[in-house]
């Protein structure tokens, strides 16, 4: 297990008597696309919050790239190469799509304590930002204020922002949430292209997408990890079928 990029050990999160993350241990191998599935309220988003640093943990350990990051604040984890997207779209609505991404490029290139020079005209930042936008297929919408993008486009923008931080590990919290068929196809295509280039942890409800993308799947039920395996074996796992996947879906 030493070669894992992300190692979660006995992680726990409670709100009073409510145990949201219950002794979760999970290893993510470099380069894999690791999906986490589970019924609503299983604690998937909480787990992502804990990994990304938005929420603290009551006990347990998170190791990233060999380093204990359990107590690091979110912004420092990002600098180590741990990026995330949000389930509920979180962009800067007043900034153009390009600036949203350029901001992320700026965060990892040089000091931001510069008080002179127009940041929007920094070609170095804009070129890299445009590359990330092209990667998700949003290049033609670069100048549009993010608040005016369609929901699907915002999901793609979110992905581009994550990419712009040049992460070693990308945490995606339901990138397909609320997208129509065409948009979700586009996001899945993008993820297929990214797969292999970086390690991805994906939370998703869309089972077709999960089983076509994931190298391995973990199943979370009521805060407990009940199985981690290849998509085929997860499909066949009787415990998983009983706990989560409706029999009719599993044909």
């Amino acid at each position: 297990m030493a070669e894992n990029l992300l190692d979660i050990r006995n992680l726990k999160k409670t709100y009073g008597a409510l145990v949201v993350t219950d002794d979760v241990s999970l290893g993510v191998r470099p380069g894999e696309l690791h999906a986490i599935i589970g019924p609503n309220g299983a604690g998937k988003t909480t787990l992502i919050h804990q990994i990304s640093g938005m929420l603290g943990s009551n006990s347990g350990q998170i190791l990233f790239d060999g380093q204990d990051i359990t107590r690091l604040p979110m912004h420092q984890r990002v600098r180590l190469g741990l990026a995330r997207s949000f389930q509920i779209t979180s962009v800067l609505p007043g900034f153009s799509a390009l600036e949203n991404v350029a901001m992320a490029v700026q965060a990892r290139s040089g000091s931001s304590f510069r008080f002179f020079g127009n940041a929007t005209r920094e070609d170095g930042l804009n070129e890299q930002a445009l590359e990330c936008l092209s990667l998700v297929g949003l290049a033609t919408r670069a100048r549009v204020p993010a608040g005016l993008l369609s929901h699907g486009e915002k999901r793609q923008l979110e992905l581009a922002i994550g990419l712009a931080t040049k992460p070693k590990l990308l945490l995606l919290d339901e990138p397909l949430a609320g997208t129509g068929h065409d948009d979700s196809q586009r996001v899945v295509e993008t993820l297929k292209r990214l797969k292999g280039q970086m390690t991805i942890v994906l939370i998703e409800h869309d089972m077709d997408a999960v089983f076509s993308l994931a190298d391995r799947v973990s199943v979370l039920v009521y805060g407990r990890l009940i199985a981690t395996d290849t998509p085929e074996r997860i499909r066949a796992n009787p415990e998983v079928r009983a706990a989560y996947l409706g029999e009719e879906e599993m044909v």
């Binding site: 604040p73 800067l92 965060a107 931001s112 008080f115 020079g117 940041a119 100048r143 549009v144 712009a164």
Partner: protein
């Protein structure tokens, strides 16, 4: 990039009117005023009123830097005016009358006060931030009232205006006007640059969505604190000018009402444009100055007793006017001007 240019939203502008012209017109007006003032027949009065407008413009603009671009509602901004003014007053009372020493001391003092109070206040959000900045402002106000050696409650009169490099450069009101204009322009140009810079972009981003900024690797606190310090220093400069204009320093410079007025000026002019704050300060001070006479004149059909009562209690009209402007001119004066461009 050519295909990008074509996707830009096309804004309809009536020819000849562009909001970008507002700051140019504004500064041109300030520069032209001394040349036109003699025609009014009350040159001294006009210049001193406009100097006051410019000084408050600097203070309001410094507040806009954190309020309009960082959504940090500081309700203790007058404290920095007080620090600037008292730096001038206290040093002068000890025989140090040169602005080349007074101003740096005022700026350093403001920066330190901003650094300490900001580091504490910025750990809170929303209404708590407002209350804690108010508390720090009041703390400094009561400190000033207890400084018996420097006039306490009554304040103190300066022996004269500050010297500049040993020369009594600020002695004439006309020269002081130009120096104030220079300070206004300098702090405007600096603030403009800050807002557009990498730093300013992070500040603006943290205003829109702090969680997103953290998720790309920024710690908003550091940027907000730096902005708070910059803003405090600019307000401190305004305080130096204020003391010099009045040749007098008192705790009244930093009452909480003054902090409230500064917020009002910024909101009146329109948040987040910098020059809007200057326009807001101008409108506020000019209304305050002329409303009694306007009311007296406008109520010509009433009897004399009513007219003088009205002029005396002009604040009863002033308040509702301000409220109406804020209610119906969303985005303040700058909001009106921007909408004008589509009309």
């Amino acid at each position: 990039m050519t295909e990008l240019a074509q996707t830009q939203p096309v804004s309809v502008r009536s020819p000849g009117w562009r909001p970008e012209l507002v700051p140019i017109v504004l500064f041109a007006a300030f520069a032209a005023a001394p040349l036109l003032a003699p025609a009014s027949g009350a040159e001294g009065y006009v210049l001193s009123l406009l100097t006051r407008v410019m000084i408050f413009g600097i203070a309001a603009m410094s507040l806009d830097l954190i309020l309009g671009y960082g959504a940090l509602v500081s309700f203790g901004h007058a404290a920095f005016l007080g620090i600037g003014a008292y730096a001038v007053g206290i040093l002068a009372s000890h025989g140090i009358e040169d602005a080349l020493i007074q101003v740096p001391v005022a700026l350093i003092g403001s920066a330190l006060f901003a650094l300490v109070t900001g580091a504490i206040s910025l750990r809170t959000k929303g209404v708590y931030f407002i209350m804690i900045t108010l508390a720090f402002g009041q703390m400094l106000f009561f400190l000033a009232t207890s400084l018996a050696a420097y006039g306490g409650d009554d304040g103190m009169t300066l022996p004269s205006r500050s010297l500049v490099g040993g020369f009594p450069l600020l002695k004439s009101d006309a020269a002081f006007y130009w120096v104030s204009l220079l300070c206004l322009f300098g702090s405007y140009a600096f603030s403009r640059s800050v807002v557009a810079s990498r730093f300013g972009r992070v500040l603006r981003g943290a205003k829109e969505n702090p969680a997103r900024m953290e998720a790309i690797g920024f710690h908003p606190f550091r940027y907000q604190l730096a902005a708070y310090v910059i803003s405090g220093m600019i307000a401190g400069l305004a305080g130096c000018l204020m003391a010099n204009q009045a040749e007098f320093v008192s705790p009244a410079f930093m009452t909480w009402q003054r902090s409230g007025e500064l917020i009002f000026m910024v909101v009146l002019g329109g948040l987040g444009s910098l020059h809007g704050a200057i326009i807001g300060a101008a409108l506020f001070l000019l209304l305050e100055e002329f409303l009694p006479e306007i009311l007296h004149g406008a109520s010509f059909m009433m009897d004399d007793a009513f007219r003088s009562h009205l002029a005396e209690n002009w604040k009863m009209v002033f308040g509702p006017i301000l409220i109406l402007i804020v209610l119906f001119a969303r985005g303040g004066i700058m909001g009106l001007l921007r909408r004008g461009r589509h009309g």
